[in-house]
Symmetry: T
Subunit: 156 residues, 12 copies
């Protein structure tokens, strides 16, 4: 039914909308994974990492909103439902139950690493098709890589 008149050609729009949908799924899942560990972490560094994880959650929620609204802006309906996220996320499975603090840091290093790798591919893929979307991906990547550094430094 409804069509937003997109400023992009059809081919460009296909490239860009796939990248946006992929990023949305990764970012929603990142927010769920970080919350999961925020609730289940135990160990001497509990409080420090418990707080740090909520900063990742806040980042992931803000970025997912930016990405989804960018898709709508280009006329492509975004999909962030639980089942879509469960089947399409680039983050590996997280185990249930309590998590030792050292393992918690490791899980975040891996999860952020996986999302960053895919996000950099999206930066490359969208530069020509839509520099506006690319600029959004660059800013998100910068922020995720900073979180990545901090968790790596934490387990050094």
């Amino acid at each position: 039914m409804y069509v937003v008149k997109s400023p992009l050609s059809e081919a460009d729009l296909k490239t860009v909308s796939e990248a946006l949908q992929g990023a949305l799924v990764d970012l929603v899942d990142l927010s769920l994974v970080a919350k999961q560990i925020h609730w289940n972490i135990v160990g001497p560094r509990f409080r420090s990492i418990h707080l740090q994880l909520d900063e990742v959650v806040a980042s992931a929620r803000t970025h997912s909103d930016t990405v989804a609204e960018r898709a709508s802006t280009l006329g492509v309906p975004p999909d962030g439902r639980a089942a879509t996220v469960a089947s399409g996320s680039g983050i590996g499975a997280t185990s249930s139950g309590w998590v030792k603090d050292t393992d918690a840091v490791g899980t975040l290093v891996d999860a952020l690493g996986a999302v960053i790798t895919r996000m950099r591919e999206r930066v490359l893929a969208t530069g020509e098709a839509d520099p506006v979307t690319q600029d959004i991906f660059i800013g998100i990547t910068a922020d995720l890589e900073k979180h990545h550094w901090m968790f790596q430094a934490e387990n050094a």
Copy 2:
């Protein structure tokens, strides 16, 4: 491995932890569904409902955090991962793609109604086992029922 010394008997703990886990799944899904519609809504009432949906998201996120941390507090690891949410939520399936504003309101009426019914059962189920948890469920129910009223009034 790790055990928080629970102030509850084993039987009470079983009752309460099932209620908490169920509530967590419902609330996380509610936050995802409300965001999904926030992004996909179209129609003359777009802006008004777009804003209203973000208030539901904020409520659902706050309540899910309260519920999950209550579970941890009682020594039961909460599970809020995407797959668990996708398979266990009490909210019916939401369709993908653009949503007319009238349908958006209807979807929220249904989703909130489903969660409220289950939440009221949890209020009854936990009163004897743990009045502290029951008090949390009562507060959440009051808040969800207020959102429910507003969306019903909206489509009157």
Copy 3:
């Protein structure tokens, strides 16, 4: 015409909606009485009680909004019009004109006492029918009793 699907049985709804309507009338009147004295008080303790009365007004306004919206939430239209309040309030008649500070305190002790007595009856009446509404009445009672204590201590 319009019907909110109530989560309560018809019998329970009758009990709860009568309690809510009664509380609404009492609380709106309390806000008007406290403002009336706020404007008409004279005497050496003028400023101190003038300010204290505005705190009662703020409490009464907030609580009346909570109670009225709870009624709407359950599908019962609340009635807070001037004539309804004038005929149905549980607070005795207040005289017009200037009020000495000592009498002002006495008036509030009586007004709060009358409302508290009726509110406690509502706490008892609604516990079984709707624990969510009861929880709201308990919170309001606690707040009104705190104001009551302060005015009593003030005239000791």
Copy 4:
């Protein structure tokens, strides 16, 4: 008993105090009527008008306080009790029960119109007797007329 030394002559004081008492009654009733509709409105424009009505309530409450304290300042005890408001208000009767959004807007257009007409008469009546009071009425009229425009535009 108590007399504030008024800076006005007796005749001027009579004119001004009648105007102030009339304005007080109108404004308290306006706040009650707007709240009544705030709670009972239904229809597609529910949220937008629900919020807008609370802005009218806030205006009416602030103005009624200014007017009542101006009366006290001139040595005339103001009367804002429920019965006084119910019998003396310039706003026509409001029906009870649910209100469709279009009717809600119409009710406000009428209520505001009635109060504005009387307020403009008070501006004329008090200019000579007390320019300070007149200045207060002018400010209130400007604010009420702005609300009036918005509700009229709303039903255009």
Copy 5:
């Protein structure tokens, strides 16, 4: 030397500038008198009036700034030096040393009364010459009269 091109005729300017200079002196003195009593008050109502006096100081300082800058705006240099204030104020002499709380209230009733009388004369004197300045005087009078009421109510 320097001349601001005034929008008023010379005769009007004379009327207005005398009123502004007189008001400036009264308001600066009011701020000094209120501070003096703020520091020297003793008695059971100490704290309540100590705080109330600082609200008078704040009012007087704000109004004196408005009045002085209005004079500059019309091209007339304002004079708010200590000696000018000491010799030209409309407020009677204040005694030094400790002041009982009842006397403190009485002093403020007198001081505010004296300034209000003169300010009302200025409202009448400037209406034709410069409605902008008159409007400023009306607003100041309303505020001073409200403080006046409160101190009178306090000693009732």
Copy 6:
């Protein structure tokens, strides 16, 4: 098509609406002129005047909004489009390109002077027809004259 029921007679409305439309055009142009100089000013006093000009812009934008909404309130559609402003403003032509700081101050003295003269005529013209509108013009004039003083003092 649409008609707001105006509380004014037709003759009064004509007077008032012409004054409001004229004021709107002057104030929008004042905001554009002040921004133009804000961007193009050079010289030793650059920073100080660059900041001061943004305060004029803020004043002009706020006042133009007040004036336009007053027109709508009275049922007269305001016109603040670029072409209307370009042809109807009371401010003389401003040259393009860099502006020395001393000239910048001179331009503002002239622009403010032109608008003030016309605004004072509007104060006189509307007093009988609509004291509410007149009150708005008086407040705007007081504010513009204060800016006028400051720029004059600046070039003394």
Copy 7:
């Protein structure tokens, strides 16, 4: 007279300064058009769109300031005067008088669409000449396109 030493070559500067001047005119006009409709809109969605339009105004004002100061930064005096805007804007003529809410949304969809098309051309034109300016245009385009989506969704 005055020359900022530009870090760009003459050819690059010409490209960039034309783009900046064009963007400035479009953005100032967008702020005037959005305000015009903000004042003249009527219809059932009045309040919701009235508020939304002020968000467009805020965006357009902020972006016009960024663009004009970027021009000054590169040594090119920006021109945002009413006549320049009236003759050079990329937005089509807007009619005067009341505007139905549906037409209001349509006008904004068109106005934003026209500006976005030109802004995307400027993104392409400036990438090589000055990546700093291009980066500013990209950010502005992302913001305008988001407003564009919302108004389109509103009329779906």
Copy 8:
């Protein structure tokens, strides 16, 4: 001398006041113990736990105020003097001097555990006698148990 007319029977009042006095002593002591450790802790986790302890202090201070004012409200004078706290607290003796971070966490786990056990007994004891007081105890228990979880997770 002074008697607040309590809404409770004598027997109920005895039950409730003992519970309130006991809770007051526990909570004041909890605030002193947590501050003691806040000042004396040493070890690698110094800063993290130093900050966390101040959150316990803030909770304990807020809760002790609520409990003491509830006692006054019911007409029972609360007793929070140092000697009363030193002899009646349910928290075991704390040693003086520096405390290793691991021991600090252990001390808090024990202290919170002791207070929670007694608080839960008070929830059971007061439910019939005064549901308002019970509701206050439930809220405090929920908060203390959350702190308890965090310190237990910290030493896992």
Copy 9:
């Protein structure tokens, strides 16, 4: 075990640490005494003094934290446990139960007087040994003496 390398000689350290420990005990007790009266005061000046006492509590809490952390800074573990406070405070015994407002003020005059006398001795005792600690004591004394004045003025 743990030793902070103190910048003071052993003799100086003994002098300073005794003064700090004494001050800590006095200040913690002052906070408990002021809270005790805050809860138990009755009489016409109830509200005014009830609020004033919480300002003393806030001062005492802040100062006790400063003093205890200064001790830790110098390598001396501070002791603020209930039993230590109960046995070592310089404030005389406070009676339990309700306190008339006049007596409440008298109690504070005495309590503050006692602490100030001892604090002034500490100022003299520490000046040579550690001017940094002395400076802290001077600041605390200035603040306590200001509270002392206010309570004395209150009972004049």
Copy 10:
């Protein structure tokens, strides 16, 4: 009549109270002089110094309050009335009428210089009699000297 029991001997009190009274007069006059110039300054540096003078006013008002309340604290009634200030200030006479910006700076350099010289004498005079008062004077001197530097740098 009223006596605050001073912690100082009679001789010390005489020294200290003379110093405090002198400082109060100087500081009140400084606030009046700075305001006088704030209103009367003209010249190219108008805005910058106009703002800077208000920072001196704020400093002088805060310090005069501290000094006067310190006098009351020691049982000596402070005197800050206009006539006392006019006759006892250490600042030389200020001329009336417009002041060129350069002269304005010169006046402040002189006024601040005069007050600082006297304030340093008070630092020396009170060190033995009351180190608490001395500490207050030292803080004030530091702040006044910083203002002094800035005005000197301004006329370099």
Copy 11:
């Protein structure tokens, strides 16, 4: 020892890390130079430029933190020690002692110009190797060039 897994190839990393280290040194030095002049400036424009310089300091500090943390994020330890800055900065030597306001502005024009030139080279150098880092450099350049314009305009 410690290695952050960089998402860049070794060659790219070398390019990017050299650019980041160079930028860090320039930005730390810029913050020190701007502070130096902030403290040593004299002349009629003292206050205006004194304040403006602190805005440069704030910019430089924020940007240096962003750049250093970006280096850490990529696994390269940043070096911002005083000696490194003293030997490697791109800003020429600054003389010690007082600086006339005109010279102060000149110094900043030169310092900013030098840093900007090098920063633009870094924008070109890093675009291919790491678009995320390039994006950071572009943002910093835009901000520095804006400061540059302002100081140039200031000495025009």
Copy 12:
């Protein structure tokens, strides 16, 4: 050229200015060293110390500004350039590259210890020459010693 008229004798000025210049250099270096470690720290306590270091940076920056402006106030131009800091700081050399968290704490203990020792010598040296400056040094020492305690406690 320019001379601020110092309130000190030449001999006193020499003493004081040397102390101020030394303190300035130490404090600027402390801010650079703390930032250096803030960026390069790795290990399990990364986050906690990363944040704590920024509090040291904030302290050092504030104190260096106070000290430099005190020098200017006394007429002595401060010198805080990179080369001056690099050659004159009292803090030993810091190594480049990653720093383990335990070593990071050790470095800060040493750096703060070195600055404190020199700062205490300055307290002794300036007491007679200028009590105002001494008072500033005392305040800075108290703050640095508190940071020192915390880092020592951290490595216990």
